[in-house]
Symmetry: C3
Subunit: 131 residues, 3 copies
């Protein structure tokens, strides 16, 4: 490994709700995972009733999470998006593009039958470390 | 990062149908994602009615995509295969082995309730860069 | 690539049940995937009827798999857990924490409608190479 593995607990984030780290740095990569709904969501657009309000409210927090992990939005390499309704794809794509701006990570949208806590969208990501 | 992050738009591919890149190079890795059905599928065996015809027709395109991203089939590290019917596993495995040849990337087959545009199979991949 | 891509077939493991490798090393990373149920499960807690007995029985095998791939449990970077019933989350999290100990890789829990061979849990992982 070009550098060790660091299990990160970014400052200002609530403790993980299970046995995991909010982010892990391995070499020049950072692996970022959604935490549970009791703590500020990272790169997660989630909603229970209406899609837009929850996305708009929660996505900006992910910038802070990325920065706390020594990364940044423009270092995102790929994102994997879990959706409970593939019909949310167009509105998700629009909100996502507004949030992320000019950066275009590779992206997979994966339909799932349900998500924890009734979320409708979860996003996990791999990003590069800011040099 | 051993090298920057490059958001790739391989020549000869249709523009992405959403806010994403067809492929992203990060250091010595390339992250490859299925694009939508309006553009030539990459490493994606997809079908609407019959499994075999669509797999056979579309998979060879992925070689071109890999090469356009400065990678190759024999540089594939792992693939993640989303299937809407786990009973497709045996025929998928057979078609996949015919397509990929002697190379044996790590592989996860993930059942999903549905896929965008009615696809029955989607494949995402991480590959190495050709030196 | 800092080092070549190695398609690993760790000693003492049954041959893969499909066209894939048990583990692939790429640079300083190892990509580990569940094999099928005819061979010893790797990092896979699987069960057909009762959750706990199968998890307890199978997870220790993954240590051997990791070591055979020149990695180790404390080199795990992230795991992706597929579950057929999100209500298994609390018991899974407890068993997982007992198994993995102090290490806290990033982790995504992904609900799926079903898994091959009637499994209720599958785990795939990315780990670092032991130097």
């Amino acid at each position: 490994m070009a550098g060790d593995i660091d299990y990160l607990e970014p400052q200002g984030m609530a403790a993980p709700g299970g046995h995991y780290s909010h982010a892990v740095r391995a070499g020049a990569f950072v692996f970022l995972y959604p935490d549970n709904c009791r703590s500020p969501p990272m790169v997660r657009g989630l909603l229970t009733r209406t899609f837009r309000p929850r996305c708009v409210r929660h996505w900006p927090i992910s910038r802070r999470r990325l920065e706390a992990a020594n990364s940044a939005v423009d270092k995102l390499i790929h994102v994997r998006v879990y959706v409970t309704d593939i019909n949310d794809w167009p509105v998700f794509d629009k909100l996502y593009s507004e949030w992320i701006g000019a950066v275009r990570p590779a992206r997979a949208v994966v339909p799932v039958p349900t998500l924890h806590y009734g979320f409708r969208v979860e996003i996990e990501a791999v990003a590069g470390v800011v040099q």
